[in-house]
Structures are given as structure tokens and as C-alpha cells.
């Protein structure tokens, strides 16, 4: 077992410790899911859209179930960067980027898995027109799963860049507020990306945020045909690689000009 896997395991365990947070998160996400669906039902009642409503409901539930993947940051890690506890990590024979990446990945994966199972079950039990639909086909489900894994890698890389910025600004709040806002909108959490105007789609789907949950959900609902799936995954992988490289570069530069303040 190496250090990166060890920190992954430890962080995963830590995430399962906060049961209260899991339950609180669940209730909150269920609430938001219901509200959003009620909202879109009203929208459809006024002016029906091209997209079948079942797709919208499925989109909303999958977004809510995997919410922790998008909007959750490791407060302890942020604190470490902010208060200089990171000095200890610098005194260790390891790659800081990789170490933090493993830690972030563990948190996001565990956080959303813990919540996704009960959420999806709940959404499946809801009446027609409110709940989640089955995937369009079994291959689509498998492709969607693969795309979700890539999305997870991609979002962890994105988060690690935020962390690198925190090291410069010394306060994560401003950066985080901005990143969260972008995340909510561009990842399709507020309004499903599928409901944005068609002319926006080429831009929206090309952005990194669309690689996180939007891509796997569209494969799941069948909006992206299976023939396209390979290409979608390629785009996700491309963004992931680019974000990881950017993050590594930032960390390298940070390390060179780093000053741990205070005694």
C-alpha cells in the first residue's frame, strides 16, 4: 500500500464518520429535488419543451444524488493550507499534488456514494412524472458509469486547482464562492444543461464543468447516443488530463515561491 492509497483510505473513513451530515445532506437534497421538479413541471405546464419531462426529472435526481461530488470541499485541508499546517506535508518525501488529489478524490467519492444510494431509491419510488427513470439501455448505463468515474477524476482535479489558489490568496472563501457559483450553473445543478438554448449547447458542453455530471447523465438518459459515447469520454479524459497538468503546474510554482508564515 502506498501513501496515496493510504490517505485515500483514511479520508474515506473520515467521511463515513459524519452520519449526521449524511442524513442532513440527504434531507436537503431530497427537498431541493422535489422543489426543482415542481418548478419544471410548472414550466412544462405553461410551455412544453422539446425534451421529454422524464429526462428532466431523471437529470434533477441524478444531480441531487451526486451533489457531494460537485459542491463539497475538504475544510480540514483548506485549514491546513490557510494556517500553515501544510508545512508538515512539505517535510515529507511525497508528491504534494498526488497526496492531496487522493484525499480530495476519497472525499468526493465517499461523500456521494453514501448519499446516492438512498437518494436514488427514494427517487425510484416516486410516482410517474416525479421520479427517476431507468437508463435508456444497459450499455448506456455502463457507459454512463464510466463517464461518471471520469467526471469524478475531473472534478477532483478542478478542486485541487482551487486549493492551489488558496495557497496564494491565503483565504479560500472568495475563490470558493466563485467556483461554487460557476459549478452550480455550468455543471447543470441549478438548471439542467439540457434546458439551455440549443445555440448555447456547443459552448456549455465543451466546458470542463459539463464533464462532471452532465456528460454521464446525458448518456444515461439517452440524450447522447451510444455512438457518441466514446467521443464524450475522450473529451472528459482530455479535460481531466488538462486540469491535472494545470494543477500540478500551479503546485510546482507554489512550492517554489511558498512562504509558510509565522513561527
Amino acid at each position: 500500500m502506498n501513501a496515496y492509497y493510504a490517505v485515500f483510505r483514511l479520508r474515506r473513513r473520515l467521511e463515513t464518520q459524519y452520519r449526521g451530515a449524511v442524513i442532513g445532506g440527504l434531507i436537503c437534497q431530497v427537498f431541493f429535488g422535489l422543489i426543482l421538479i415542481a418548478l419544471y413541471r410548472a414550466l412544462y405546464a405553461g410551455k412544453p419543451q422539446m425534451l421529454p419531462f422524464s429526462h428532466v426529472a431523471t437529470y434533477v435526481w441524478l444531480q441531487q444524488a451526486f451533489f457531494r461530488m460537485l459542491l463539497a470541499s475538504d475544510a480540514e485541508l483548506m485549514d491546513k493550507v490557510r494556517t500553515g499546517g501544510i508545512a508538515y506535508d512539505l517535510c515529507r518525501p511525497m508528491n504534494l499534488y498526488g497526496f492531496y488529489y487522493a484525499r480530495i478524490l476519497a472525499q468526493k467519492l465517499t461523500g456521494c456514494l453514501l448519499r446516492a444510494a438512498p437518494m436514488l431509491l427514494f427517487a425510484a419510488l416516486l410516482p410517474e412524472g416525479w421520479g427517476i427513470s431507468l437508463p435508456v439501455s444497459l450499455p448506456a448505463l455502463l457507459w454512463a458509469l464510466a463517464a461518471w468515474v471520469l467526471g469524478l477524476f475531473c472534478v477532483s482535479a478542478l478542486e485541487n486547482i482551487t486549493m492551489a489558489f488558496t495557497m496564494r490568496t491565503l483565504d479560500p472563501r472568495g475563490m470558493q464562492a466563485m467556483m461554487n457559483l460557476l459549478m452550480m450553473i455550468l455543471a447543470g445543478n441549478v438548471l439542467p444543461l439540457t434546458l439551455f438554448p440549443d445555440s448555447w449547447q456547443p459552448v456549455l458542453t465543451a466546458l470542463p464543468h459539463a464533464q462532471l455530471l452532465d456528460a454521464p447523465i446525458r448518456i444515461y438518459t439517452g440524450e447522447y447516443a451510444l455512438s457518441q459515447a466514446g467521443l464524450i469520454l475522450l473529451r472528459q479524459a482530455g479535460w481531466t488530463a488538462a486540469l491535472i497538468c494545470t494543477g500540478m503546474l500551479f503546485w510546482r510554482r507554489n512550492q517554489r515561491r511558498l512562504v509558510i508564515q509565522g513561527g
Partner: protein, 321 residues
């Protein structure tokens, strides 16, 4: 060449100032944290590194541990330049930053140690042997399954120290390791450090404001002030330079009749107790003792050097710090 070799070390920090009224740009202030500091430390030495707040002690430690790059100067530790060969360098060092945490807050300390084991690539049996040894010396056996958040400050400090020593570093930097510890823990920690130094020949560089720590642990001290090295040598020699006063406390069985004392001695009487202060050079017990006996029946007589903190304060003052 010596194990740690530092020559002409300089480091400055730019501190951004508050924007002045009417000005659009913020000014910068240059703070020289280290200025031409040189020293050598041999393997197995236990060196105290002292100086007032903001003297540059932590800056030196950060440079030596490879997390800060100096402006100028050469530094080698065991033949390596810390900030250039960071990974190879840190493999052999252990660090304790007294006011920062390396262990995880919400998990049992043993789990944090397991993670450190992987980070340092410690083989299984070496790890278990070392952990048993450290847990015994630091009295941690009963605490290993306790989450860090439930430990007291002293227990936490011991756990942090254990974490920093698991990989058996040959060089240990201790940055104020006894902050906030009770007397028993402090003594135990000192014993432990002496033991570690003796058993494993670990080189230890200790920064602290606790002069008792220094007195108990280090024969050699370096004094740093305003980024410059002001003294490097035996602690006893340093103290004797500033140890210019003696304090005599005389306790009588009843209120003494204050005798006429020679001029260099100043006296304060307080009920049955008489407190005399006098320069060490002027202390003449032959004349003083009969005079004191005339004043009444002596129950107790204590001759003390000045408190070590006073000595250091006097030294800092003389050095203009």
C-alpha cells in the same frame, strides 16, 4: 565537512504595507529575517537555538528542513542542499512544529501513524518495533486508539513527537516542542529527547523560549537576534557572562534586627525573611555571615544565582534586542 553546514545564510521577506491615503499602490517593507548566519553542527549534537520573538529561528528551521529557499548562502545537511533535493533530504529528517498539527483530528492517533508509515515507506516490523519503543518512552500505549481531538495538549504534543520520529530520522528539528506542557510531561519529554539522542545518535536542533529546556538538554547554544548570530558556544559560559548577581534569602526564627551591611549589598526585609542582592564579584561570605548571625538565629540560608530567564533577558538587553 560537518553534518550541517551553514554559511552566509540570508533571507528577507517582503511585507506589503497598508495602502496610504491618496496613493494607489501599496508599499512594501523589506524585513531581513536572516543576515549572514553561519554555523556547523556535527552528527549526534544536541543544539539549542534561542533568541527573542521574531529573531529568525523558525526561518532557519524552515530553510534547513527544505521548505523555504534562502536568498543567499550555502546550506548542506549530510551533503545535500535541502531545498534542491527536497525529497531525498526530508527522508532523513523529522520535524516538530510546536504549534501546528500533523496528525488527523478526528481519527485515532494509531491511524494517523499508519498513514505516516506509508508516507515514509517504513517496513512492517521496523514500524511495529519503533512504535512500541516510542509509545513506551512517550507513555502513549493507552492512547493509541483515542482520536486526537480527545487528547489533552500535553498528550497531543507527545503524539505529535511520536509521529515525527516514527521513521527514525537522523536529524530532528524541534520548534518549541514544550509549549503548554505541564511540569511532569515536560520532564518526561526532556528525558525522552536525551534518550533518543543517546540511543540513536540523533542530531537534534531545538528552538524554544523555555530556558529550562535548553539547560536540561543542550550543552551548546546558539543565540540569534535580529537575524544575526550573536553567540555560539557552551551554555555554561554564556550564563557565567551574565550571571553577575547572587540572591541570598535568610530566614530567621523571628523578626531580625537588621545589621549594618557592607555597601554593595542591598537588603529587603519582610517579616522573618531577609532578602539580599549582591554582585557575584562582591559576595564576601566571610564578612557577611557573622553580620547575618548577629541579627538573630538563622533557620535557613539560601544562596541562588539569578533565574535563567533573567539572565537571558539581561543578555538580550545588553545585545540591544
Amino acid at each position: 565537512m560537518s553534518y550541517i553546514h551553514v554559511e552566509g545564510l540570508c533571507k528577507h521577506f517582503d511585507i506589503r504595507l497598508k495602502r496610504e491615503k491618496g496613493s494607489l499602490i501599496r508599499g512594501k517593507k523589506r524585513v531581513q529575517a536572516l543576515q549572514d548566519v553561519s554555523f556547523d553542527v556535527e552528527q549526534g549534537e544536541l543544539v539549542g537555538y534561542i533568541g527573542p520573538n521574531g529573531a529568525g529561528k523558525s526561518t532557519t528551521v524552515k530553510i534547513l528542513s527544505g521548505i523555504l529557499t534562502p536568498d543567499e548562502g550555502t546550506v548542506t545537511v549530510g551533503g545535500r542542499v535541502p531545498w534542491k533535493e527536497r525529497k531525498a533530504h526530508v527522508r532523513r529528517i523529522g520535524v516538530v512544529f510546536g504549534q501546528r498539527m500533523q496528525l488527523w483530528w478526528d481519527v485515532p492517533i494509531a491511524d494517523s501513524f499508519e498513514l505516516l508509515k506509508e508516507i515514509w515507506h517504513i517496513p512492517d516490523n521496523a514500524y511495529h518495533k519503533r512504535l512500541a519503543e516510542l509509545a513506551e518512552a512517550l507513555r502513549l500505549e493507552d492512547l493509541l486508539r483515542t482520536p486526537l481531538r480527545q487528547l489533552s495538549l500535553g498528550q497531543r504534543m507527545r503524539a505529535e513527537l511520536c509521529g515525527s520520529l516514527l521513521h527514525s530520522p537522523e536529524l530532528l528539528f524541534l520548534d518549541e516542542p514544550t509549549i503548554g506542557l505541564d511540569a511532569v510531561t515536560k520532564l518526561a519529554l526532556r528525558d525522552f529527547l536525551l534518550w533518543e539522542n543517546r540511543e540513536h545518535h540523533t542530531t537534534i536542533l531545538l528552538t524554544t523560549h523555555d530556558m529550562e529546556d535548553i539547560a536540561a538538554l543542550c550543552s551548546r547554544v546558539m543565540v540569534l537576534g535580529r537575524g544575526q548570530k550573536l553567540y555560539d558556544g557552551q551554555l555554561s559560559e554564556l550564563l557565567s557572562r551574565y550571571d553577575t548577581q547572587r540572591i541570598l534569602t535568610v530566614r530567621y526564627d523571628r523578626m531580625p534586627v537588621l545589621p549594618e551591611l557592607p555597601a554593595p549589598v542591598s537588603a529587603v526585609a519582610e517579616n522573618e525573611t531577609l532578602r539580599l542582592t549582591c554582585r557575584t564579584a562582591d559576595l564576601d561570605m566571610d564578612t557577611l555571615l557573622p553580620l547575618l548571625q548577629q541579627a538573630g538565629t538563622i533557620r535557613e540560608l539560601i544562596v541562588q544565582p539569578q533565574n535563567i530567564d533573567h539572565l537571558i533577558a539581561a543578555m538580550y538587553q545588553e545585545m540591544g534586542l
